[in-house]
């Protein structure tokens, strides 16, 4: 059994590394896109019909790609940015790009939950578009945003396991190479359990943080 755990160490770090870095970039790209989708929409504070429909179309197209195909398509980009198409770091580029449109839609739907009356009140008080985004939309939607970000990170954990299939390393790779190809069921079970624990912990932290904010907002 100690063998199994020593096997687990490196892939675990790789998975955490891939998930963390690609979540960072996916959020960095997806967050502003989500905001743009909300404010340029028909009922948005900075309505731009053409821009919205083009952006929305691009997001939908990217989301329709099966992840594994997208990874292969993005290989050339990985080579330009990271210098290689194989390995954990190389997987970060397709992971980030694959998750970006997902994050954009998640952020969009969280921001849409904000009562349009609050936006109207902010407009009536003479707020600029930027002030409405930063002081009203993002603040009001915070619990929903946290849950959305949690969901995005969890999907990236799943994606990163798939990336293992194209040489990215990580827990997914471990499960496939030892568990599936070499019939070492114990390794497969342990690596899946490790993934479950990571997902559970992420959900727990995200859920608690959102619940804390909701509770704080009912303080008398």
């Amino acid at each position: 059994m100690t063998d199994v755990f020593s096997l687990l160490y490196k892939p675990l770090i790789e998975t955490l590394y891939m998930t963390f870095i690609s979540s960072f970039f996916a959020l960095l790209l997806g967050f502003p896109l989500g905001i743009l989708l909300v404010i340029t929409a028909e009922d948005g504070i900075s309505k731009k019909a053409k821009f919205y429909s083009i952006l929305s179309l691009i997001v939908n197209i990217l989301r329709s790609f099966p992840f594994i195909i997208l990874m292969i398509l993005v290989f050339p980009l990985s080579r330009i940015i990271i210098g290689t198409t194989i390995g954990t770091s190389a997987a970060i580029v397709p992971l980030s790009i694959a998750a970006t449109p997902f994050v954009a839609r998640i952020i969009e739907s969280a921001l849409r939950e904000v009562d349009s009356g609050l936006v109207e009140a902010a407009q009536a008080m003479g707020s600029s578009t930027w002030q409405i985004i930063t002081k009203v939309l993002l603040k009001e939607a915070l619990p929903g945003l946290i849950l959305g970000i949690t969901l995005s990170i969890i999907s990236l954990i799943g994606y990163s396991a798939m990336a293992g299939a194209i040489g990215a390393g990580g827990l997914g790779d471990l499960a496939i190479r030892y568990g599936y190809q070499r019939f070492k069921t114990d390794v497969m079970i342990v690596s899946v359990i490790a993934l479950i624990i990571i997902v559970q912990l992420t959900q727990l932290v995200g859920g608690k943080a959102a619940a804390y904010i909701v509770k704080k907002r009912s303080r008398t």
Partner: protein, 332 residues
């Protein structure tokens, strides 16, 4: 003064356009409380939103103290909006902010210093009587408390205009009264011009100086509240105030041959003993069929439906006496 000239707002849905506002012209005086009344769909909500351009008019002009609002650039519009307070039916308080932070918002966007903001916010919370709730979040407040916070927030940047969008429609009658008297108070203290839209004639009765009745995007009647209550001209207006001046006359109450009259009393008249004056001076009999008194902000108005029986010359004399006493009357 808010001057609205030939304002039209057209919406098009499925290639069919309709006028939410149809060539509206209204002058709202400085320092008055102006009511806009109408059923839902009459266009009152669109009208009040055109004043601060939350809705863009299709055509027409709106100016405030000779500043043409309808042609302001976006930047200048934001600046002017900062001096126009607005409160809403659903209060629209920020749930992510405490009471204090809600009132501080309009000052924050002006980038005032923390000390200045605190001084002002505490003063305002004192005015609306919610200083002890300053660290509470809106979700824990009652409707009346929420509207008080919203009023404090609307006043934070010392506006000269206050727009009230069905501000009391979500409140119970007692809370409505207290909110309305608060609005009256702050209007007098701060020389505000108040524009309020409502579907409740009680609100108009309670605080308005003048009122416009809106129907299908048009102003069908515009007058002082006293005149609207004593002498409504259109059927819609009569409908609006009907439940405030009951005049159902049951057939058993009178003889069809009787002469029926409706008397209108305004101000001091409403309290004087007019019927007994009639009876003492003329050889007639009076039967009171229905009557009521409405207390407006500008005094009382009364309505009385009576039947008078007696010899025709005596009745004529009695009616002349009524006119002499400044009582308006009409034959029903």
């Amino acid at each position: 003064m808010i001057s609205i000239k030939n304002l039209t707002k057209t919406y098009s849905i499925n290639n069919e356009s309709f006028n939410a506002l149809d060539n509206i012209s209204i002058d709202i005086n400085s320092n008055e409380i102006f009511g806009i009344v109408g059923l839902s769909g009459a266009g009152k909500s669109t009208l009040i939103r055109c004043i601060n351009r939350l809705e863009e008019p299709t055509s027409g002009e709106i100016s405030i103290d000779s500043l043409l609002i309808t042609s302001l650039s976006k930047k200048n519009l934001l600046k002017r909006r900062q001096k126009i307070g607005m409160i809403f039916q659903n209060f629209n308080l920020f749930n992510s902010r405490t009471v204090f932070q809600n009132v501080a918002y309009p000052l924050e966007i002006l980038k005032l210093s923390k000390d200045e903001i605190e001084k002002k916010v505490l003063l305002l919370l004192n005015t609306v009587g919610l200083i002890d709730k300053k660290n509470a979040y809106p979700s824990t407040l009652s409707g009346g408390q929420k509207q008080r916070v919203a009023i404090a927030r609307a006043l934070a940047n010392d506006p000269d205009i206050l727009l009230c969008d069905e501000a009391t429609s979500a409140l119970d009658p007692q809370t409505t009264k207290s909110i309305l008297s608060l609005i009256r108070e702050i209007k007098d203290e701060r020389n505000l011009t108040v524009v309020l839209i409502t579907h409740q004639m009680e609100v108009v009765r309670e605080i308005c100086d003048r009122v416009a009745i809106l129907e299908a995007g048009k102003v069908i009647e515009l007058d002082s509240v006293t005149n609207i209550f004593t002498n409504p001209k259109t059927a819609t207006t009569k409908d609006f105030i009907r439940h405030l001046r009951p005049e159902t006359i049951y057939e058993t109450n009178f003889n069809k041959k009787d002469n029926l009259y409706r008397l209108h009393f305004i101000g001091a008249n409403a309290g004087s003993p007019i019927i007994s004056t009639l009876l003492k001076n003329h050889d007639i009999e009076v039967n009171i069929l229905s009557g009521n008194i409405n207390t407006l902000y500008h005094g009382q108005v009364g309505n009385l439906v009576i039947s008078i029986s007696g010899k025709p010359p005596e009745i004529d004399k009695a009616l002349k006496t009524l006119s002499k006493l400044n009582v308006k009357w009409e034959v029903i």
